[in-house]
């Protein structure tokens, strides 16, 4: 099964009838094949997305690690690889969890913060989410997010690193 066939499959399924349960047993054969195509397409898309994520991260990693002391003109410290590993690991876990449920969101901006931390910043039409990874691994991750037009879906949280991954993933799954 090719990726192209998978994409074609998804594009041709537009109405509810296309996804309805077959009435006769013999009609199941086609959906089984279709599901197989769908699975292949999903795996291919996931691999493409993972490559995109790695590419994005490498771009930001080079830029952030090259920043010298006082890179903002107000005394900002330089960065080490440890904090970027935590950023990379968090992104990978959050995206993996979303992709496993076929939830797709755009890639975030990864931004150095003059206090030595790193921001992971999503600004989309549906939601905004700012995740701040602290410079030291024993400090808490700060999270602030809003679903656009839904004030009750605001999230403001401080958690340890592992819990933060769960909090972010849970919130994204709920609001998308």
């Amino acid at each position: 099964m090719s990726k192209e066939r998978g994409k074609e499959f998804l594009e041709t399924r537009s109405s509810i009838e296309d996804w309805s349960i077959p009435a006769r047993f013999s009609d199941w054969l086609s959906p089984i094949e279709d599901l197989s195509v769908l699975k292949t397409a999903f795996i291919c898309i996931k691999m493409d997305k993972k490559e995109e994520l790695i590419h994005l991260f490498e771009k930001y990693r080079g830029y952030i690690l090259e920043l010298p002391e006082n890179w903002d003109g107000y005394g900002a410290p330089s960065f080490n690889n440890e904090i970027l590993k935590r950023v990379s690991n968090l992104l990978e876990k959050v995206f993996q969890s979303l992709w496993n449920e076929m939830i797709e969101i755009s890639l975030p901006l990864i931004q150095p913060v003059p206090d030595g931390s790193v921001d992971i910043n999503w600004e989309t039409d549906k939601f905004e989410l700012l995740v701040n990874i602290p410079s030291e691994d024993n400090k808490l991750v700060n999270i602030y997010g809003e679903k656009i037009g839904f004030p009750l879906e605001e999230i403001e949280n401080r958690s340890n690193y592992e819990l933060a991954i769960l909090v972010i993933t849970h919130w994204l799954k709920r609001i998308i």
């Binding site: 930001y60 830029y63 920043l67 890179w71 903002d72 003109g73 107000y74 005394g75 900002a76 410290p77 901006l109 931004q111 150095p112 913060v113 003059p114 206090d115 030595g116 931390s117 921001d119 910043n121 600004e123 905004e128 700012l130 995740v131 701040n132 400090k139 808490l140 700060n142 999270i143 602030y144 809003e146 403001e156 401080r158």
Partner: protein
């Protein structure tokens, strides 16, 4: 006995920060070079290592965006831009979001405009940065040139 420094400027009270005034801050290329668009100020500009002791800004009563630019190490718009935060919008955001922020004039011997924003701490900094970035704009003529 220490001599009194007659050249020291006196700090002014909060009431002197009028709604039409601005607070300025320089934003280095290292912050904005990877923004997808310069039209939208990103939240990471509003932070510093000393932010919990007060985030440094300059008050428009005693300074102009051009003064701020000229006082930076690289006073050119290809390296630094200057953002402005209108006091009226800042006060509204403080009230609307119940932020514990205060504005304190903190004149320095060589910079009468120096002003600190107090109240930023680890527990609220992410929301504050997000909200403040939305009410911040490039000062006229001070948007960086790529």
């Amino acid at each position: 006995m220490a001599k009194k420094n007659n050249l020291a400027f006196k700090a002014e009270p909060f009431e002197n920060f009028l709604n039409e005034h601005f607070l300025y801050r320089g934003v280095h290329k290292n912050l904005w070079q990877y923004w997808s668009s310069l039209d939208k100020i990103q939240p990471h500009f509003f932070a510093s290592k000393q932010a919990e002791q007060g985030l440094s800004t300059d008050w428009s009563k005693y300074s102009t965006p051009l003064d701020i630019l000229n006082n930076l190490t690289d006073p050119i718009l290809t390296v630094n831009g200057i953002v402005e935060l209108k006091i009226e919008k800042l006060k509204a955001s403080i009230i609307q979001n119940n932020f514990p922020l205060t504005i304190a004039h903190n004149p320095l011997p060589k910079n009468r405009a120096h002003t600190l924003i107090h109240g930023i701490h680890k527990g609220n900094v992410t929301k504050i940065r997000r909200k403040i970035s939305k009410i911040t704009e490039w000062a006229p003529g001070m948007k960086p040139k790529i």
